[in-house]
């Protein structure tokens, strides 16, 4: 089985910030908007290098989304930055009408997604955002797994015309995808080859899936790990091809099982080749305060949970 090396823990939000810094140099139409979280979103370099293209909106997320939609008229490519909770649920109607329905080229960039925001607790954690965003017609939904991939995705979405939700996080996590890997929206990345179970993971759970695959290998279960960075449009072909081989699937995400990646995969399988599936996700609950590692363990979002789910799903074949 192919092994991956962690080149050093880094936060995915820094991948976004560094990607944005690069876009500042390479694409003069890129503008950045922030709702009083410049430091948290790592937008400081862009702000300092291009003050005329950086817009501090203040704590007014609804206004930020509307301004971003308006800025596209005249050719700008706005990147909005705030926490995932305030990027989605708080401004759902603004995104729905002014961005998605109006087909505006806005990039909604959301940090501190999921439960790994940690100590701030459930008011700031969001486990529903993938569902909210994927339900919007025309919205592309991306959840990246590490620093390198987040940086690559940030560059890629600037080249893509249409509304995008880019989801990333706060904690420093393994950085293991190739630094020069091109980001193709909607194209799954197969990380390991396997024959017994397909593990479809997104975001912070991708590294956990790789750890789980190693444990499973030692137990004689061959796992094929697929990194689904784009939840919508979903690379159905890649998932179906893998499940045709393995006959079962585990989905893994830092999100509620309702509305998440798992449901998208289940639909794909139901419409094509139904197969046993287990969901590694939160179980229709809010989060709470704690360290990221404690929370991942308590809410069953780590390698150990993926191993258990894999053992179970293989028996259901």
């Amino acid at each position: 089985m192919k092994k991956y090396t962690n080149t050093g823990n880094k936060d995915t939000r820094s991948g976004f910030g560094d990607g944005l810094t690069e876009l500042g140099k390479t694409n003069e139409n890129v503008v950045a908007l922030c709702a009083d979280l410049t430091g948290s979103l790592k937008m400081g370099d862009f702000k300092n290098n291009h003050p005329e293209r950086f817009f501090q909106i203040g704590i007014a997320e609804a206004n930020m989304i509307g301004i971003a939609a308006g800025m596209t008229i005249g050719g700008k490519i706005p990147f909005t930055g705030t926490f995932a909770n305030f990027s989605t649920g708080r401004v759902y109607d603004q995104i729905r009408q002014s961005v998605a329905y109006s087909d505006k080229n806005v990039k909604i960039c959301a940090s501190h997604a999921g439960i790994t925001l940690g100590e701030d607790g459930a008011t700031h954690q969001i486990l529903e955002d993938i569902g909210l965003m994927k339900m919007l017609p025309g919205m592309t939904v991306i959840n990246t797994c590490d620093y390198n991939q987040t940086k690559a995705a940030t560059l890629a979405i600037a080249e893509f015309h249409g509304p995008v939700y880019l989801r990333f996080g706060r904690p420093k996590v393994a950085n293991f995808t190739p630094v020069d890997q091109k980001f193709e929206i909607g194209k799954a990345v197969q990380l390991t080859e396997g024959t017994d179970v397909t593990i479809v993971a997104t975001g912070h759970l991708v590294w956990e899936a790789l750890q789980a695959a190693e444990t499973l290998e030692a137990e004689g279960i061959s796992a094929e790990v697929i990194n689904i960075h784009t939840i919508k449009p979903l690379d159905e072909e890649a998932i179906l091809a893998s499940v045709a081989k393995t006959g079962c699937v585990v989905t893994a995400e830092e999100h509620n099982f309702l509305g998440g990646l798992g449901e998208s995969v289940a639909r794909t399988l139901a419409l094509n080749t139904p197969a046993p599936q287990e969901f590694v996700a939160t179980q229709d609950t809010f989060g709470e305060s704690g360290t990221p590692a404690q929370l991942m363990e308590k809410y069953g979002l780590n390698a150990a949970s993926i191993v258990k789910a894999s053992q179970k799903v293989v028996k259901r074949k």
Partner: protein
């Protein structure tokens, strides 16, 4: 510049269009549409600098956003008569497969519309965004928006108002359709707006009143004054005092026609008060 007589004739025809559109599908919002007919006719045919044809980007021309999207009949009629799409298409208002949706949208590709509106309170933010882009592009044209007075009850409006003044968005004129009525009744009864002038001034805007918002000369003068106030560091707010249902006697002085279509007899009476000027579609 257009002479007042030809603008008056256009207003009368727009009124007829509004009434006939709403009557045909027995739905839509005639009251606010009629109240803003003079304003939008003047804005599109006298005030704004517009390029030929329609480009979504709106570069090197003035740009208008309708934030209170429910008065779609009036904007559709004004856009059609301005040449954005065939006047006959007004006949498809609110019908299945029409580009003239109940509330305006870009989704069906209707020329003249740059943002969807209907869910209230969003258009000021959008207009500010376009005004900022015009500044970045070195484009000296202006951005206009229209809002219902009831719409100002939405919190996002005040987020936007604070931003525009705090960031010197002075290439922007926001107009409030100040008819003091909304669906459930008088704004004073539903949720009092207080002094809009004092509110916008406190937020840092330059505010002016158009006392007779259904008089073309008053609108011309007021918009000229508003334009003269742009470029001086402050966003400009026009309080346009209008009469909901203007031009149709039984639709005036009441909020009853906010979102109600006239019957056959009522239509006949309303059209008789507004004889055909440019020809019905």
């Amino acid at each position: 510049m257009s002479d007042n007589n030809s603008l008056e004739n256009l207003v009368t025809q727009v009124r007829r269009d509004i009434l006939r559109m709403v009557h045909k599908v027995n739905s839509g919002h005639p009251g606010g549409s009629l109240g803003c007919a003079e304003f939008l006719v003047t804005l599109y045919n006298d005030t704004m600098k517009l390029n030929d044809g329609f480009a979504m980007d709106g570069k090197e021309e003035d740009v208008f956003f309708l934030s209170n999207g429910h008065i779609s009949p009036v904007i559709y009629s004004v856009l059609a008569h301005r040449g954005y799409f065939p006047v006959e298409e007004l006949n498809t208002f609110r019908l299945l497969d029409s580009r003239l949706q109940g509330h305006p949208t870009t989704h069906e590709g209707l020329p003249g519309i740059r943002i969807a509106s209907g869910s209230l309170g969003q258009g000021m933010s959008v207009a500010i965004g376009t005004a900022l882009t015009k500044k970045l592009n070195g484009d000296n044209h202006l951005v206009y928006s229209l809002h219902g007075d009831g719409e100002l009850q939405e919190g996002q409006i005040w987020e936007a108002a604070m931003y525009a003044a705090g960031n010197n968005v002075d290439n922007y004129i926001a107009t409030v359709d100040y008819n003091k009525k909304q669906i459930d009744g008088a704004t004073d009864d539903v949720l009092p707006l207080g002094s809009l002038r004092a509110k916008f001034e406190a937020f840092g805007w330059d505010v002016l009143d158009i006392k007779d918002g259904n008089n073309i000369q008053a609108i011309k003068d007021g918009l000229a004054e508003a334009k003269a106030k742009t470029g001086k560091g402050k966003p400009v707010c026009v309080l346009l005092h209008t009469e909901m249902g203007n031009g149709v006697d039984f639709m005036m002085n009441t909020h009853a026609w906010h979102g109600k279509a006239p019957s056959d007899e009522q239509l006949e009476s309303a059209l008789a008060q507004n004889p055909e000027t440019l020809g019905d579609y």
